[in-house]
């Protein structure tokens, strides 16, 4: 017994010691090697999609920065069981021998941290994370070819030395052939390609939709190549970074900013680094806190920062600048969806930018595509007709969100709409593609996976308003289309029976069938035209109505529908 006790003590002691030692010795890379899920690389199917995302996002960002229309080629080959080779090539500005190591072989090397800007964002840990994952799963380096518009192109093998979080470049050679852009060939194990809503193909399809200026082609392991052509030649304007708004800043962020600021006093630090911070606000803060705002911001304590943030909540500020957001734009979304989704009808609504939580500018763009090839085809019914399921395409800052569908505010907003009101009787089983794009300097993700947006009140409200607006517009189309289809079905039915009725009447009256049938056709057409006229009059009545009145009409119609059964019975008369 005492022995055991001693053991325990020893274990506990050594664990703490080891941890401390490990922490000192192990680089960031080593840490992630042991915590693969933190790279965002969990699940065999998801991992492959996230890897494709990291490379393609890098390419898109690089092209955008260099004002180049992106041409991106992605090819996936199966080289063994759960063993794939991925080839990604772009026509971007390219990497130099100096930058290639940092870009592809050093974790957390990006410049994107602690910046408030509308950016595509990483879902895992960037392209270096992929290099890391290739190393972990296969032990092999990745192969890179890169060239800029001037100077010679080069190729090399590249991997990460996890101990020191630094790239290791091997077999570096110049190549004589002209080459512009970056091409990467990387091998991965423990991944799986499967056609699904979460596959790289679907990811790229959606990426193409939200990046109309990009041409993206994808070759699946079975050799099938799908190309998404660009529908716009406008390279998106570069969003401007904005200073954090006092209403949207956290204690931790404030302290981080204080650490790097050039300002010498807390008061000037606040004024220089935060948006909408005036002298009046500084005065109010200085009156309310029990420390001097003239101290060095680098010496700001947590408790003091906390007190400042508390004051921010009490003070009224001008709303943040909204011009920092660059939407895709109604026309470009329309062209893109028409080209890639190929619906019969499309409505796009772009809302004006606004603010959530008082400090974060955001904006929503939605599109509703109906008919044609909209929605997902889900097999065929007994009669061989295609069966359609609706799909919701979610985007945050132009990046498709493929996972955590149910837990995402974008999905929830779409599901909270009473679609029946807009003529969509069965939302889940309709040829329907809902496009939802949320753009913000700070997307309120639910978790580190960055796959779902949390339901911020103001965001939900904007999403719903946009969807309902688009719904109203599409209602006119669906209503018209349905009416036309119903009318045609009616005509067909009457014509079908007219032939039989004419035969019977001809036999009863001993006259010729054809003239009777012809007259019956005339009667049918006349009747349908009259019906149409009545409906048009009714629709006209609806036009001048307010939202509330339409609501009332809708409820009334719903009630009539229930009573409608009675109307079907033959009309009863007294003799």
């Amino acid at each position: 017994m005492p022995e055991e006790k001693e053991d325990k003590k020893e274990t506990a002691g050594s664990t703490a010691d080891d941890l401390a030692k490990e922490f000192k010795e192990h680089s960031v890379a080593e840490f992630f090697k042991k915590n693969r899920q933190m790279l965002g690389l969990t699940g065999k199917i998801k991992t492959l999609t996230v890897i494709v995302h990291e490379y393609v996002t890098n390419s898109l960002d690089a092209c955008e920065e260099a004002k180049i229309l992106p041409d991106i080629e992605v090819k996936l080959s199966e080289i063994g069981e759960e063993y794939y080779e991925l080839y990604v090539r772009d026509n971007g500005p390219g990497l130099t021998k100096e930058t290639v190591g940092k870009a592809l072989g050093q974790l957390l090397a990006g410049t994107k941290f602690h910046r408030l800007i509308q950016q595509r964002g990483q879902q895992g840990i960037g392209a270096a994370g992929c290099t890391m994952f290739s190393l972990i799963s296969t032990g092999k380096p990745i192969q890179v070819i890169s060239g800029t518009s001037h100077g010679k192109a080069f190729k090399c093998d590249l991997t990460i030395d996890p101990k020191i979080n630094s790239s290791k470049i091997m077999n570096l050679e110049d190549i004589d052939k002209p080459f512009k852009g970056v091409a990467i060939k990387a091998k991965f194990k423990e991944v799986k390609y499967q056609k699904s809503d979460q596959s790289p193909l679907e990811y790229l399809r959606r990426t193409a939709i939200s990046n109309p200026h990009a041409k993206i082609s994808f070759t699946e392991p079975d050799g099938t190549t799908t190309t998404f052509e660009r529908s716009s030649k406008d390279i998106p304007k570069k969003p401007t970074p904005i200073q954090p708004h006092p209403k949207g800043v956290t204690v931790d962020e404030l302290l981080t900013m204080a650490k790097y600021t050039k300002s010498r006093k807390v008061s000037s630090f606040l004024k220089d680094e935060l948006d909408r911070m005036g002298d009046k606000a500084i005065e109010e803060i200085s009156k309310s806190v029990d420390f001097d705002l003239n101290t060095d911001p680098k010496k700001l304590a947590w408790e003091q920062a906390e007190e400042i943030v508390k004051q921010f909540k009490k003070i009224q500020f001008i709303a943040p600048r909204l011009d920092s957001l660059i939407p895709i734009g109604e026309e470009r979304i329309k062209k893109s969806i028409m080209g890639i989704v190929e619906p019969e009808f499309l409505e796009v609504v772009e809302r004006k930018p606004t603010v959530y939580k008082g400090g974060f500018p955001f904006c929503v763009e939605v599109g509703i595509a109906y008919g044609g090839n909209a929605g997902r085809q889900a097999g065929t019914d007994e009669d061989g007709r295609n069966v359609w399921k609706s799909e919701i395409l979610r985007f945050a800052n132009r990046t498709p969100l493929l996972f955590d569908t149910g837990g995402c505010a974008l999905t929830q907003a779409a599901q909270s709409i009473d679609w029946k009101r807009y003529g969509i009787k069965d939302f889940d089983n309709s040829p329907l593609t809902i496009f939802i794009h949320l753009l913000s300097v700070h997307i309120p993700y639910t978790g580190a996976g960055k796959q779902a947006v949390s339901p911020e009140e103001e965001v939900m409200e904007e999403l719903r308003l946009a969807l309902m607006d688009a719904g109203r517009k599409i209602y006119r189309f669906i209503g018209y289309q349905r009416k036309m289809a119903e009318k045609e079905a009616k005509r067909k039915m009457y014509y079908k029976y007219a032939s039989e009725v004419a035969t019977a009447i001809a036999e009863l009256t001993e006259k010729k069938k054809e003239p009777i049938e012809k007259k019956l056709h005339e009667i049918v057409l006349k009747h349908l035209k009259l019906e149409e006229k009545k409906e048009a009059e009714e629709a006209k009545k609806m036009e001048g109505l307010t939202e509330e009145e339409i609501e009332r009409e809708y409820e009334k119609k719903k009630g009539e529908g229930k009573k409608g059964k009675g109307r079907c019975k033959e009309e009863i008369k007294g003799r």
């Binding site: 009616k490 039915m493 009457y494 079908k496 029976y497 007219a498 032939s499 039989e500 009725v501 035969t503 019977a504 009447i505 036999e507 009863l508 009256t509 001993e510 006259k511 009777i516 007259k519 019956l520 005339e522 009667i523 049918v524 006349k526 009747h527 079907c568 019975k569 033959e570 009309e571 009863i572 008369k573 007294g574 003799r575």
Partner: protein
């Protein structure tokens, strides 16, 4: 009514529709409504009669169009049957009219259930009898007893010599077709079930009991009811019904006596208003000490039907209301076969003679 007149009625109906078509109107055909809402119990004739409510079946109405088309086909089909001087079963007529509508995969008729009610519609609206339309329903009725039948153009049949199979009631029992002669019986026993009829016939009850045994094997067809009516009217025989003690048995009695709802337009020729209900009643269970094992618990459906019948005006007599209440209170029903639980011949040797002797009938 002669064939010519019937044909004319059908043609006139067609001409009427043609007129509407020529005027460019929505073709429609007016029909009497044949449901509970448009029938009444006629105190004078003591039968169910059709009221005067009509409905208009329209070609240009999504809900009517197919039925309108079918009604026209039936009218034309009937004209053809009469013209060919044939007698056709309603099933034959259904097959005759059933075909795929040109250029579609839809049939003019899918089942006989679609064509049968339309025949009744036309009978009612044109005021003609089914027999006059040369239509027959499959006959299923049987007769045993001292009676001779002469069929038109045939020989005389002595029903008492027909043995255990009995004489099958033909589909048309109108006087032009059948002559009823030499009846030696005091009453007609109209039995719901074939098995019970067979027991009575095997025991030659018609001889002992001096009666004519008639069964429609369940819900009797027109022919059996018409035949019973002729026996009653021409030979002055009272009719007694013997049915199961359940809501369906009681309704069969009610159809024999005052007619059915769907044929309400011709009940004067089919109903037997003086019929009395001899049994079986649930009250008999105690009277005749029928074993509890032979009783069947009422189900939901039975209770629903029982409540409906309690409301029919022709079942308002207190004796019937008492039986309905008793059945509901005791919560059981019985089949005629329940009497066999006492002994095989209990029904012929004890039950029926006692019932007739004590005149224990329901009106």
């Amino acid at each position: 009514m002669q064939d010519k007149q019937v044909t004319k009625k059908l043609e006139d109906a067609g001409e009427e529709i043609l007129k509407q078509i020529d005027k460019g109107e929505n073709p429609n055909y007016e029909l009497p409504i044949r449901n509970l809402n448009n029938i009444f119990f006629d105190e004078k004739s003591k039968t169910i009669k059709l009221g005067d409510k009509t409905s208009s079946r329209q070609f240009l109405n999504v809900a009517h169009s197919r039925k309108f088309m079918q009604t026209m086909l039936v009218a034309a089909g009937l004209k053809k049957v009469i013209k060919e001087q044939a007698t056709t079963s309603i099933r034959d007529l259904f097959y005759n009219m059933k075909h795929t509508i040109e250029g579609t995969d839809e049939n003019t008729f899918d089942t006989q259930d679609e064509s049968d009610p339309l025949i009744e519609d036309l009978e009612a609206s044109l005021n003609v009898l089914r027999e006059e339309l040369h239509l027959i329903a499959t006959p299923k009725g049987l007769v045993a007893g001292e009676v001779k039948i002469k069929e038109a153009g045939g020989s005389v049949i002595d029903v008492s010599k027909m043995g255990s199979s009995g004489w099958a009631v033909p589909s048309n029992v109108e006087p032009e077709k059948i002559e009823i002669k030499e009846v030696d019986a005091d009453y007609v026993l109209f039995i719901e079930k074939y098995a019970t009829w067979n027991r009575f016939n095997e025991d030659q009850f018609w001889k002992k009991g001096k009666c004519i045994l008639l069964t429609g094997k369940g819900q009797p067809a027109r022919a059996e009811r018409r035949f019973a009516q002729r026996l009653a009217k021409e030979q002055g025989l009272p009719i007694y019904a013997l049915c199961d003690a359940d809501p369906w048995g009681y309704y069969i009695y009610s159809v024999i006596k005052q007619g059915s709802i769907s044929l309400s337009y011709s009940e004067e020729k089919l109903a037997n208003p003086d019929t009395k209900f001899i049994g079986l009643t649930t009250q008999d269970a105690a009277e005749f000490k029928i074993p509890k094992d032979a009783q069947i618990k009422l189900n939901k459906e039975d209770l629903k039907r029982l409540a409906e019948m309690k409301d029919y005006s022709w079942f308002k007599k207190k004796e019937w209301q008492k039986e309905f209440d008793y059945m509901k209170e005791k919560g059981f029903k019985m089949e005629l076969e329940a009497l066999s639980a006492k002994s095989i011949r209990f029904i012929t040797e004890t039950y029926l003679p006692k019932k007739i002797q004590t005149k224990d009938f329901l009106p």
